[in-house]
């Protein structure tokens, strides 16, 4: 049953990613197809997660691959907040290919199967994993917005004559949305880390590499928010800082799973 839900979700995300490519070349029908692909894919993945939750003995996404599955769901869900608007379709070009690849990785790692058990308490995992993944999804979206900002900024600086052919959100709007997304995601990460630290103190254990990189990401995003709201830090450099923060998130998500999930 889980397989029956996984493949349509992956196909829908894949279709959306390809359709967004088509939209970048020729805006119109491809954009609508992409939006529907995202909607359908997300609904099917929601059903997959519900099935996993119903069948699992304990928190079903406590493995690296399982958490990747949940992470993709958070990212696409967050994208859907704006992604259905025509002007934000180009954001899909940064988010959906990533979502499709990560979901495939999650499947390869066994994170989409409808069985599983956990060594940890459900409450701890829901709070820790849920909050950290929701925060990472927010940072991923913020990175997509920043990438879109840099692309749009470059088109404006180069005075590209085709700039009105593929319309994107205004620079000021992208900058504002990035700041808002991070302002929501960082408190979630803070709480997620706090829950993890509380458990560490309770049960003992050291700080691993993943925790160290997560803390580094927390500092980067914290610095961004302080500079943004305290000193009006905007524009290209702010976008680069957000992407630097995302690089750490990517390292945490993909390169360092072994230290934390073993």
């Amino acid at each position: 049953m889980a397989e029956l839900l996984f493949w349509p979700a992956l196909l829908a995300y894949g279709e959306a990613a390809l359709a967004y490519l088509g939209e970048a070349r020729r805006p119109g029908l491809a954009g609508s197809l992409a939006t529907w692909g995202v909607r359908i894919g997300w609904l099917v993945q929601t059903a997959l997660l519900a099935l996993q939750a119903a069948r699992a003995d304990g928190f079903p996404w406590s493995t690296w691959a399982g958490s990747l599955n949940l992470f993709v769901w958070f990212v696409v869900g967050a994208y859907l907040i704006w992604g259905c608007q025509v002007r934000y379709r180009m954001l899909g070009l940064t988010v959906l290919p990533l979502a499709a690849v990560l979901l495939a990785l999650a499947h390869a790692g066994g994170g989409t199967a409808a069985h599983g058990e956990s060594r940890y308490s459900n409450l701890f995992l829901v709070l820790h994993v849920g909050l950290v993944l929701a925060a990472f999804a927010g940072f991923t979206l913020a990175a997509g917005l920043s990438a879109l900002y840099l692309w749009q900024e470059r088109r404006l600086k180069r005075r590209e004559t085709t700039i009105l052919r593929v319309r994107a959100p205004g620079l000021a709007r992208l900058d504002e949305l990035t700041a808002r997304t991070i302002a929501v995601a960082l408190p979630a990460l803070t709480l997620g880390i706090a829950v993890g630290v509380a458990r560490l103190r309770d049960r003992g254990g050291g700080v691993d590499a993943l925790m160290a990189v997560t803390l580094a990401a927390w500092f980067v995003y914290g610095a961004y928010l302080v500079l943004r709201f305290g000193a009006g830090f905007r524009g290209r450099r702010a976008a680069y800082l957000v992407l630097a923060g995302f690089l750490l998130v990517a390292v945490v998500r993909l390169a360092l799973p072994v230290t934390h999930f073993s």
Binding site: P27, G28, R87, Q152, R155, L156, K157, R159, T161, T162, I163, L164, R165, R167, A168, P169, G170, L171, A172, R173, L174, A231, G232, F233, R234, G235, R236, R237, A238
Partner: protein, 408 residues
Amino acid sequence: MRIVLVGISHHRAPVELRERAALSREQAAELADRLKGTSGEAVCLSTCNRTELYLADESGGDAERRAEAALLALEADLGPALYRLSDEAAALHLFRVAAGLDSMVPGEGEILGQVRAAYDAGATGPILDRLFRQALHAGRKARVETAIGESPASVSSAAAALAEQVFGELRGRKILVIGAGKVGDLAARNLLSRGADIAWIANRTADRAAELAARFGGEALPLEHAEEQLVDADVVVSSTSASGWVLERAQVERALPARKGRPLFLIDLAVPRDLDPSIHELDGCYLYDIDDLQAVVAETLAGRRREAERAESIVADEAGRFREWQASLDVVPAIASLRARAEEIRAAELKRARLSESERKAAESVTAAVLNKLLHLPTIRMKEAAAAADGVIYADAVRHLFGLEDDR
């Protein structure tokens, strides 16, 4: 019934000629009423790019002469610029006009409303009613299914669209207009129509600045004070006749720290230019001069032309559908006569038969079914023949074979 079109347009008639043949809505309605005659139909479409008369009449030649005479009565020199089209070609032409494919700027949006207005004011009957309704449908369809009308077609609308690329929505954005000339006025209007506030108008002549400020609701400033507003302004539109830079890089640079990273979009519509081009190199500053804007417009117009190719096929399909409908009119009377004659025979035979009530009911139903089945195929074949232009031959054959000549 034949459809006839006689008209002039921007393709062959210069504005000096077109303006003499231009008609107000009332004049167009009056002319259409006059041209329709006793049994015909007429619509007069008059815009700044064209004056066209559409007539539907039994006698095409006579209708054409009447339309031509009506246009020549407006201006005797129109003769060489006149074009004449009939039936399918006239329909295709109107569909292209409604879709904006025959306009100076492909896909311009006003024409659809003008076609509707002409239709509303016209003296329409079944033919022109169908023709114009289908033309409006084709025009809407071309705009919905292609991007022919989406991109800006003028420098001022391109400037406003680019400002949206910087800020997203322009609602509440503050505009500093430098120079109170016509060009700046036009650009300001475009920004205003998208929700921006014209906050300041700086001009060398105080009276002109005050006049414009009163109209747009902004504050009039002497030109020297323009720099002071750079901290708060979001968009700067400059179009003075000054020979040197009105704003230099250093002036903008001074304002940047207080702007706290907010982007500044500068539009230089003046020739010679007003704004130091190196302003564009500053972080968060985007300066577009008249050449940059014209290049954007040229590209969007090229995009419109690409979309026009797709719109052409939509319009051609619609014209084909209209042709089929018009052709089917040739056989409709023959089909109606044939069915009426068959029904008449059936009713008479049933009346003659001695049947009980229940038997009559059964016979009614059986004979009606037989009749329908028998006439179904000839009806379909006649309509198909009409679409292939053989409708009249088939209709005549049916009338002859079934003795329907008297029903004409």
